[in-house]
Symmetry: C2
Subunit: 210 residues, 2 copies
DNA sequence: GATAGGATATGAGCATTGCTCATATTCTGA
DNA sequence: TCAGAATATGAGCAATGCTCATATCCTATC
């Protein structure tokens, strides 16, 4: 008796080995984004994604174990974009005053949500709808927490709870503005308040240490 | 030709007029909560809810236009609980120092999430998954913003953006702790940090005005 | 107490959707 | 050239959201 070849229990089932397979995966992800942009979470069906991507439904399931895995992949894509954006913002002004650095981070995150707002909103919604929030959003938050909390000229290092609070407060507020389609989402006034939120908190922690 | 009787486009279709109908609606909501507690969002099917509630699927749809409406109702129930809890907390110490009042609000919100954590988490997830966040969560946030931001002994009144930031930052952080099942969710240390977050932000706004 | 009509409850079953699997096609290395 | 691996296909099954024709229950009126 020959054992069936085991499939790894991953989000992706088959790993592309040929160029056309890579293209297929890209097409599926792009199709997924388009379907989300067009019809939001409600219209997001795997059959619709496959059709939009120009592949059969079977092909879709060769690369994604289920609908959730597809959303997960989209979420990770967004996450990576944000992380890259934040990292870049921090690299530029390494010795700038803390306010500049915080502002750069805030702006980077907000700007990561440019274009295809409807799709992005839908991705956030869908990712939150599953337990995926933990793995998928936490890295961004952790990165921000670490970045914003590095001991830096009299600024105290943050405890894990404090890192959690500052990162989730920032991400949560931005996410709320996106989901609620706040008119001031990309306004300077909103950015100012987010900067104030982070700075005042970090300042208060530092002050309490002294 | 007789026009069909128009159904109001509401979350609830039929409005209970008899006592047994009220009981039916309660049973459905209770069944929904139980199904969520047992199987999370994944196991939440309308047929399962109807069975658990001891009513037929048809009856369920007499009172709730669709699955979303059911989640919406559960969400509103949670929201109302939180609002009541916060209002009560604020009523007690009307002339207490601002720190006490903020702490009371923070504690009230966190304590609103006691018991049936799995169901609550699922409700939050489900509500976020639809566009319902806007109508369903915003009232709590607005209430908190208004309550925490009432001009009070040298504390400045907040602009709409500022109210948005302080309420969503607080709610978002608490929600993140719930969804990510943070170990410190109900710890004193976490509460302290939430208080610090709100106080430092309000303080910074006030300081900037002067 | 009888009963007409409104309110409430039922559940078989239809439409849609997530997903599988047997099969076909394409590619690559020897 | 061609065998076998990689990739692609899509009919169709199972599960789920939801409807509607029908049945049962309740209440108001006489």
């Amino acid at each position: 008796m020959i054992a069936k070849s085991r499939q790894p229990v991953e989000t992706k089932r088959r790993i592309p080995r040929q160029a056309r397979a890579e293209e297929t995966v890209s097409a599926i992800l792009e199709g997924a984004a388009q379907v989300l942009e067009a019809g939001g979470v409600a219209g997001f069906t795997t059959n619709a994604v496959a059709e939009r991507a120009g592949v059969s439904i079977g092909t879709l399931y060769q690369y994604f174990s289920d609908k959730g895995a597809l959303l997960h992949a989209l979420g990770e894509r967004e996450m990576q974009l944000t992380i890259t954006s934040v990292a870049k913002a921090l690299r530029n002004d390494d010795e700038a005053p803390i306010e500049e650095r915080v502002r750069a981070v805030v702006r980077a995150i907000v700007n990561a949500f440019h274009g295809r707002l409807r799709a992005r909103k839908a991705v956030v919604q869908a990712v939150l709808a599953q337990g995926l929030a933990i793995e998928s959003v936490a890295p961004v938050a952790a990165f921000i927490a670490a970045a914003g909390a590095t001991a830096h000229r009299g600024i105290a290092r943050l405890t894990p709870e404090q890192q959690f609070v500052v990162s989730r407060a920032l991400m949560g507020t931005i996410r709320a503005a996106l989901l609620e389609e706040a008119s001031f989402f990309k306004s300077r006034a909103f950015e100012d308040e987010l900067v104030r939120l982070v700075l005042s908190y970090i300042g208060a922690v530092s002050a309490a240490r002294a």
